[in-house]
Symmetry: C2
Subunit: 478 residues, 2 copies
């Protein structure tokens, strides 16, 4: 298996980055029922090579520039193997004290790296941090947002002495990840009370504190109750950053829970030159960041810090007889099942612990800087070619750009040119980019960050993009 994996990584550049299979390609190639008798591993490996790999979009390819990267590392791989090896089920402290306590240690380490206020750390609290600030590993940002939203909801309903969620309103910008709307629906917030506040190119698509205040004031005047504000450090479309300090100030005035989704951009904040994006974090209630996006960890790993874990526990705890035990009853330990949706949980902190120790903070900062440098290089390439424009100023390692209109064409015509260019590039299988539409503008997204990406891959991808532009503009006769 180790050989097979080594072979996959050795060959990864030879596979088309974006798979070229058609829907339902696999069903006809595999039997419709499981075998009654065992099959040799060789047969299975053959099928993986012949049928599975061709249908994979290779997220780890150095030529993967779509979405945000899914970073990996040898240390995280070893950590993942160890996690699998122990298969420890850490639903409460007693079920595996090491799983709970190592997670507490690692979450404090990462909080220190981000220079989060002590109020988000276990080490600041009394009683081993129980009930106060601290962190927990969730599977995804969706869960981080959902569990904090439910904690906020239940606190507010208790304060209002009601079961009626219909008056509660939640806020974000129109650039916030769609999972926020989904989490709100799941938590029973009325769809008509989910405010998606418009942003514009003037503010680089960041949420405006003045506009937030206006919207909230109008809601309060109509008798509604502001509940939760979701801010983003590094939006999915363009890595826009909402200014935490003034926005949290507005939210604090209305006793809202403020969550910061720093899934992608937060990782960069371990470097002093990016830390200012978290200014104001001391005014928020919770923050999440996904090391699987940029901190060399594997899926799925989303770190969530809260100031008041007692509010999570109030909303999420269960206490069945068969899980009762002396340490939990004495309130001297953290039972992570009460910080998350599920009961069972894996020993996930191992991989993050191995990454932080094996590379050290210095090397992880270098890794972030290297990706940013390569993105800056691509940005330079784009600016040097008059056919293109950078649409939104680059902040991290994502470049949003497009073929320009030269003032000659209808916007829809320019959009379709860029669509064609994206299709052209992706269909070669030699690089994979994605797209977005922001402020009505269709643009291409080029995200640097796959662990194996080197300068030469970015250079080659830019050559490919230029070739694509030649082809598209020639056909179109522009």
């Amino acid at each position: 298996m180790v050989d097979f994996i080594a072979d996959y990584y050795a060959k990864i550049e030879s596979y088309p980055v974006l798979t070229q299979v058609q829907p339902n390609y696999l069903r006809s190639r595999l039997p419709s029922t499981a075998p009654y008798l065992p099959e040799p591993l060789q047969t299975i490996f053959h099928d993986i090579s012949a049928h599975v790999i061709p249908g994979i979009t290779h997220w780890l390819s150095p030529n993967f520039f779509a979405f945000f990267p899914a970073t990996v590392s040898t240390a995280a791989f070893l950590g993942e193997m160890l996690c699998t090896c122990f298969n420890a089920v850490g639903f409460n402290w007693l079920a595996s004290p090491a799983a709970t306590e190592l997670e507490m240690v690692v979450m404090d380490w990462l909080a220190h790296m981000l220079k989060l206020p002590a109020s988000f750390m276990f080490s600041s609290g009394a009683a081993g941090g129980v009930g106060g600030g601290g962190g927990v590993i969730q599977n995804t940002t969706s869960e981080a947002i959902f569990v904090t939203l439910v904690a906020a909801r239940d606190r507010k309903l208790e304060a209002l002495r009601t079961n009626d969620v219909k008056k509660l309103v939640v806020y974000s910008s129109d650039q916030t990840h769609s999972t926020f709307t989904k989490a709100s629906r799941l938590a029973g917030i009325c769809p008509s009370n989910v405010r998606s506040i418009p942003t514009s190119r003037d503010t680089d698509f960041a949420l405006s504190p003045e506009l937030l205040r206006k919207v909230v004031e109008a809601d309060v005047e109509s008798g509604l109750v502001p509940l939760y504000l979701c801010l983003t450090v590094g939006t999915t479309s363009t890595t826009a950053v909402d200014p935490l300090e003034p926005l949290a100030h507005v939210a604090n005035d209305y006793n809202m829970w403020v969550h910061v989704d720093a899934a992608y951009g937060g990782s960069a904040c371990i470097c002093p030159e990016f830390r200012h994006y978290l200014n104001g974090v001391e005014r928020v209630d919770s923050l999440s960041l996904s090391p699987h996006k940029w901190l060399l960890s594997y899926l799925d790993c989303c770190c969530l810090w809260v100031k008041r874990s007692d509010l999570l526990v109030n909303a999420l705890s269960t206490n069945p007889e068969y899980l009762r035990n002396q340490p939990s009853e004495s309130d001297s330990v953290v039972d992570y099942k009460d910080w998350q949706l599920g009961t069972g949980r894996r020993f996930k902190s191992l991989r993050l612990w191995l990454v932080l120790r094996s590379y050290g903070v210095a090397n992880i900062q270098s890794h972030i800087r290297s990706d940013v440098r390569m993105a800056r290089m691509l940005e330079g390439f784009v600016k040097s070619d008059l056919r293109f424009e950078v649409v939104v100023p680059r902040k991290f390692a994502l470049v949003c750009f497009r073929l320009k209109s030269f003032g000659r064409a209808e916007p829809s015509y320019v959009d379709s040119l860029n669509r064609k260019l994206l299709e052209w590039v992706n269909s070669t299988g030699r690089a994979y980019m994605s797209h977005t539409v922001v402020g009505g503008v269709y643009m291409l997204r080029f995200a640097v960050g796959a662990t194996l990406t080197e300068e030469r891959h970015v250079v080659a991808a830019w050559q490919l993009i230029k070739d694509g532009a030649d082809a598209v503009l020639k056909v179109k006769g522009v």
Copy 2:
């Protein structure tokens, strides 16, 4: 790392099964911040051996008989390594077609093994199964229950043309896993509308259809709306089985969504002699089963089947511009992000696929039967010792037993004897059992199923239990 893991498994019997560390044991042993410079792997391995392993409760020990087992296998380990290797993010079909389609194939395989009706399979549906029946891998039963509950809630609210959840009522027995109450709270169901219907020893703690009908009728008369019924095949406390057929009949009369939580017991139903526990499954809307509990898979792996995936998609879909793509727009593919809470997801079907192929259905059935045989053996031991009684008839591989009262003692005194016995056994570190209280009776739970457990371990554990009984009864002077 492979050597380290092999060494762990070789030594696993030498570690105390239940860890003997005290709360906060780890913090003082590790630095409070991450290292700035890299540390050698040797140092990290040393810390794992010296500080992590002593704090682990060894779920994979052959002497682990607590809770339900967390089963593992070499094939699943290899599958897990492959999943990590590809790190494919299968949020929608295009992001990794192989990840989506292999999951569809494997879920159909397992559905066939369980003889589920075709209405739960992709292969029965039109358009590649889109919108009809099919399965999906969730992380935990909690999520499976939560997402189906939300789908049921949104369908009902739409039918009632209201946003008001306050009239909706959900039902289960008092033996249902506590995560059901939690999921109901999360979905915004009023706590006063979560019915936990009493069970008794007369029905081996199964939910009574007659009682369910009475409770539902009373609710309807009060103007409430029945929403969701959660049934269990193999409850956590005693592996009680709710009779699906008559209970679903009641629920069908009131247009409720019926979910079957077969997290533990469902696995046994791949053997013909246990399949009758699923009789009536054709009348339910969804079923979940956790292969990490008994089908040789690792955490976290909960299989969920639904008849109407369109209802999940209605409740859970998002469609941001940056994820738009032609296959998804054409409705010809499954986008699993719309079947679950989160967006990102791992290539989890690989491990289940490797397990099913490497062992074949025949060997997996043998594995289930072997565990049941060992549990039956322990049951025989218990029955042969007059000091003990089996409290609830054994159905699967869990034995619920206790020291008897001999009619001489107060119930609370007998409970305390059994508590002492459990403490005595677990504190030796040579075996780990758990307990429960059902129908007011405190009892010990002995669950056979750790992958490494052989007859000799069960025999040794029984000797230990007898020694414990000698010690406890002697001290107590009974």
